[in-house]
């Protein structure tokens, strides 16, 4: 028993040291590089969540690795005849402690994660459907952007700017954006990775997702729902630009689209696949 305690003390010491080293590294070195970044407040919340999850999981992973490594080195049998080890018997206090600690950790992370998803990140970019239950403060003044998926491209309508439609997405920095994600044909998924948005685009459905942009930069847009032959090519690069830059871009788009605008249908939260003339 005394020998076992000695091993336990060594394992505990190694675990504490490795944990003390790993956690600051995770928070301050690895953390800033964890996805999806900090281009929007929601993306930043998701990054924080990833940092916390990694930091909380690290001691558990390290305990297993330290014990595994220690056992490989110290308890390794070399030469001689292979014999059965001493019988392993249950140790109720250790088992209870393990169960309580891991259960508490998982439950705490579940509660905290749910709060982040619902309260802080406002659905974490997955969209809240047509009637958001948790719109962020200032939602009424948000820049509304309709995201339209179609085989195989994205277009965008801006109801606050005459419902103009564009094939490129520019957003102003430091602005709350209300995405209305929908589709004209099959199910797509609007995945703007750096914005922290991955919202399903379903025909006949207005899926609303909020993000608050921060600084200017580029973000990638992909489809995250297998949607046909060119699904893998359904990507674009969007821009978060200054407020003045956005105004300038919007003015140029409005000018360029003036001729075509009369053919656009009235703005709607969603559309159904039309025409169906040749469809079966």
């Amino acid at each position: 028993m005394a020998r076992l305690s000695s091993h336990a003390r060594r394992i505990l010491a190694m675990w504490l040291v490795s944990t003390a080293v790993a956690i600051p590294l995770i928070i301050w070195v690895l953390g800033p590089h964890l996805p999806p970044g900090d281009m929007t407040a929601e993306a930043s919340d998701q990054t924080s969540a990833n940092i916390v999850l990694t930091a909380v999981c690290a001691p558990i992973v390290l305990l297993i690795l330290v014990y595994f490594g220690y056992a490989l080195v110290v308890f390794r049998a070399s030469g001689g005849q292979i014999e059965d080890g001493a019988p392993i018997r249950g140790h109720a206090p250790t088992q209870t402690l393990w169960l309580v600690l891991t259960s508490a950790t998982v439950l705490a992370l579940a509660v905290w994660g749910s709060l982040v998803l619902v309260v802080s990140a406002h659905g974490a970019g997955g969209g809240q459907g047509p009637n958001p239950i948790d719109p962020p403060a200032g939602a009424k003044e948000a820049l509304q952007v309709q995201v339209i998926g179609q085989q195989w491209n994205w277009t965008y309508r801006f109801p606050g700017y005459g419902a103009i439609e564009t094939a490129h997405l520019d957003l102003p920095a430091d602005r709350l954006v209300e995405f209305h994600v929908t589709s004209l044909d099959v199910t797509h998924s609007f995945w703007a990775y750096e914005l922290g948005v991955k919202a399903d685009a379903v025909p006949g459905v207005d899926n609303i997702a909020f993000v608050h942009t921060r600084k200017p930069g580029s973000f990638s847009i992909r489809c995250a729902e297998l949607c046909g032959l060119w699904h893998g090519h359904m990507y674009q690069t969007g821009q978060v630009v200054s407020t003045a830059g956005f105004a300038s871009w919007m003015a140029s788009e409005q000018k360029a689209e003036a001729l075509n605008k009369k053919y656009l249908p009235p703005y709607s939260g969603h559309y159904y696949p039309e025409p169906q003339r040749r469809a079966g």
Partner: protein
């Protein structure tokens, strides 16, 4: 016949059938239409295409499709084009299909072209989306051009590909600029695939029909 000879015959037959099935599947999966080079050289080249409402023959006789004219003036059933990099490419489309209409009217305006789209000899800044039969679109180049359809009641409509100039058609010409080398996909945005789900199945999901590759070399 001995028992071993019978067994050899049975296993040999099974192996032959399996080989034929594998050959058919592999042939179906890796079939790639031939690449057709644009006429001319950098910095100017030209491509002539035609769209047909239905092939009229082959494995999919009722599928809508593109054809490309090769250097000898022969129509090739392909949608794989080779064009020079950093060049102006003039595209002429002989459009033999009737209109279906665009699902997204946004694509009714030509985009990404140099100069104006010309429809039957007349500069046309935009097209009523309901009159579109197809689009020639290369999204990665920002290029999308609507192709006006033949009137539903037009006489002498084409029924067997490739079609001839004597049959009812529209002529669309436009110029676009190629960028750096690479392979880009092109597609149609009009749900024009007769009898398929949402009009976007069959030929709309097949290279060689309404989808293609643009090799910029």
């Amino acid at each position: 016949m001995t028992r071993s000879a019978k067994l050899a015959g049975v296993f040999g037959g099974i192996a032959a059938v399996a080989a034929l099935v594998a050959y058919y599947i592999v042939s179906y999966l890796i079939v790639v239409p031939p690449s057709v080079a644009a006429a001319g050289q950098a910095p100017r080249a030209s491509v002539t295409l035609q769209t047909v409402a239905s092939m009229g023959y082959g494995p999919h006789p009722d599928w809508v499709s593109y054809f490309v004219e090769d250097a000898r003036g022969k129509w090739v059933h392909s949608t794989v084009l080779t064009v020079p990099a950093n060049s102006l490419v003039k595209v002429t489309v002989l459009q033999y299909d009737t209109a279906t209409g665009l699902r997204n009217p946004y694509w009714g305006g030509p985009r990404g072209i140099v100069g104006e789209m010309v429809l039957d000899g007349k500069p046309t800044p935009t097209l009523d989306p309901d009159l579109a039969s197809h689009t020639f679109a290369v999204p990665e180049l920002g290029l999308s051009v609507p192709l006006a359809g033949v009137a539903d009641d037009a006489k002498n409509q084409c029924g067997l590909a490739p079609c001839t100039l004597a049959e009812a058609h529209r002529t669309i010409t436009f110029v676009f600029r190629t960028g750096k080398r690479g392979t880009y996909r092109w597609q149609c945005f009009v749900p024009c695939a007769f009898g398929t789900i949402l009009g976007f199945g069959g030929p709309m999901q097949s290279i060689g029909y309404m989808d293609g590759l643009l090799h910029v070399v």
